[in-house]
Symmetry: C2
Subunit: 348 residues, 2 copies
């Protein structure tokens, strides 16, 4: 229940098994600031205390990050920088982003019904490397004295290998089809990416591997999203394609994500942003955060059953006709963020 | 007419005003190999003769590039490398990619009718900089001895300024709304991009400028493409978003593009690829190439009237019900590539 409150508040929720949570497991929660909230409170987007508490927890549930107020801040004082530092600090390199069209919500998609219905894909995005973190980066001048801004897209074999294994394992639990997205016709970083994904595929002979250029993937997601089962791609392409895929479902307010590392706590967050235009108006859809908590139970704590109970409760709430504004369609009951949360609780 | 033949053949068409072309202007054509055709004929993807002829021409019309046969080639022997070398050699830095939903073809879109109809946007993509050409690039080893692949995303102020001016001018001839797409919440190259686009906007007080992060733009194109008039973005984001936008129209086989430099000949090509799966089967839609010739007349040779005649002929052909397979819908006449070309000629 507390989880619902953290929605769009730029806060990190740190869970410990202590308190009696809705699903009958003992949890301990600790709420710590990150992003905008941390900037306001302590002047940095990721306070040391927050990172330490996160590292010592079993799993981290994150609200959304950012807002108009801090949009013009310098890089080191941007809310987004706090999120990137948290991902880096927790060494979470595998970002799982499901995009699923629920039968109840197929009308919410802007795609034609026959194109949208049945879409059920998972984007496995590399989260701790590539152009987001590559060095050198910064500002400078070129040989003509012109100012430049630059970043480095770089991948090492071990980074590709480990995310590839996560993706192949993920595909194995799903439809056993993995599509690797890159720009290997232009970029060296992508050529190495493709080479390594192909090399790792020999460990997974039961998984059907294909490759697609990123521009084509952006098209194919619109043309026929059902062709995809599991997608693996780098950090920046994953940022773009997972958002595109989530919008194809028409219900980005419904979509959770999990970020996992080799060991240590995972980071669980809704895919949507902080939606500053509707913040504080009790309008937001809390289900992405609720479903992120479900992912947390499953991937973070290994509590599959409890996870399923939450997912089932969400479906049940939808079946009972409750909708927030973003997924509303005629004939259903329009509710605000809090009431939607209450209804999910009733369903549990 | 000759233009239609070059479709999906990996060839460059070089035009000179010599021959009597359909629109009553004297043209001279010269056909030169590039990409796969050049690799087969001379072992390199852009022969010197081709680049020289292109440079000496008034405008260059390009077929599509690439095919299965050369997919596994090393970088210097990829068809795509020939295209990049041609863009570089001609110093074309501004790539104009319209995405328009024609009333006749609204059903071809996978988007719902009310979302697709009326879409009319233009992506202005920076074409000669960024991660496509940035140095350093290549392969190496990191401090742990691990193999790496790397590329540099870099923009200099003059590169941003000149593409920004093209975009503002383009917006001025359209709906006077320009949306600049970047990832300024993470990348330094994007921060400079945003800064310079804002600086140049002071020269265009009549144009409404907005900014959007690339992940959000990928979503918004699906959610509500009609919100966009003109989009300006960097090379790689432009590659992805313009393909996404073109697929939203449902008729990528219809979409032309123009690549322009400071001076010298422009390069005109369909947006679609070489579609190796249907090559040589007389199935492809020739209209993107025909409309690229129309853009060539308008932007390359300043022959607006002739350009309009071709565009009108294409619309007329569609109104008469002729459709290739990719845009076919019930009640229309299915034709192959050649017949479609003949019908356009009849309409002129
Ligand atoms: C807020 C931003 C830094 C972040 C990213 O680009 O990774 C967001 O877009 C996401 O996808 O989680
Ligand atoms: C073929 C490839 C190199 C090219 C690009 O990435 O620019 C193509 O995708 C395009 O958009 O024209």
């Amino acid at each position: 229940m507390m989880i619902l409150d953290c929605f769009d508040q730029n806060k990190t929720w740190v869970l410990k098994k202590k308190m009696d949570f809705v699903v009958g497991i003992e949890f301990g929660f600790k709420e710590m600031p990150v992003g905008g909230a941390a900037l306001d409170l302590m002047g940095v987007p990721l306070p040391e205390e927050t990172l330490l508490a996160a590292k010592q927890s079993d799993a981290v549930l994150l609200g959304a990050i950012g807002g108009y107020k801090w949009d013009k801040n310098q890089k080191h004082f941007k809310p987004e920088t706090g999120l990137l530092q948290l991902r880096e600090g927790l060494k979470v390199f595998a970002n799982l982003r499901p995009a699923c069209v629920l039968p109840q919500l197929v009308d919410a998609s802007t795609l034609k019904k026959e194109v949208a219905e049945g879409v059920d894909l998972m984007v496995v995005r590399e989260l701790s490397g590539g152009i987001y973190f590559g060095k050198p980066r910064g500002f400078g001048t070129n040989e003509n004295g012109d100012e430049i801004g630059f970043n480095t897209e770089v991948y090492a074999t071990y980074e590709i290998d480990r995310i590839a294994r996560v993706a192949f394992e993920t595909a194995r639990k799903r439809g056993r089809k993995l599509c690797s997205v890159d720009k290997a016709n232009v970029l060296e970083a992508s050529m190495l990416w493709r080479q390594r994904v192909m090399a790792i595929s020999s460990e997974y002979p039961d998984i059907e591997l294909s490759h697609m250029y990123v521009d084509n993937a952006a098209m194919q997601l619109v043309r026929n999203p059902k062709q995809f089962d599991t997608i693996i791609t780098n950090n920046i392409f994953g940022d773009i394609l997972s958002d595109e895929a989530s919008m194809i479902t028409g219900s980005i307010g419904m979509l959770p994500s999990a970020s996992l590392g080799e060991a240590g706590p995972g980071l669980f967050e809704p895919i949507h942003g902080s939606a500053p235009d509707i913040a504080g108006q009790d309008k937001a859809n809390p289900l992405a955060t609720v479903l992120s908590a479900a992912m947390l139970l499953k991937y973070g704590l290994g509590e599959e059953k409890a996870s399923q109970r939450i997912e089932t409760a969400v479906l049940d709430t939808l079946n009972r006709g409750f909708r927030t504004g973003d997924i509303y369609s005629e004939g259903n009951k329009l509710v605000g963020c809090k009431d939607m949360g209450e209804e999910v609780l009733k369903s549990i």
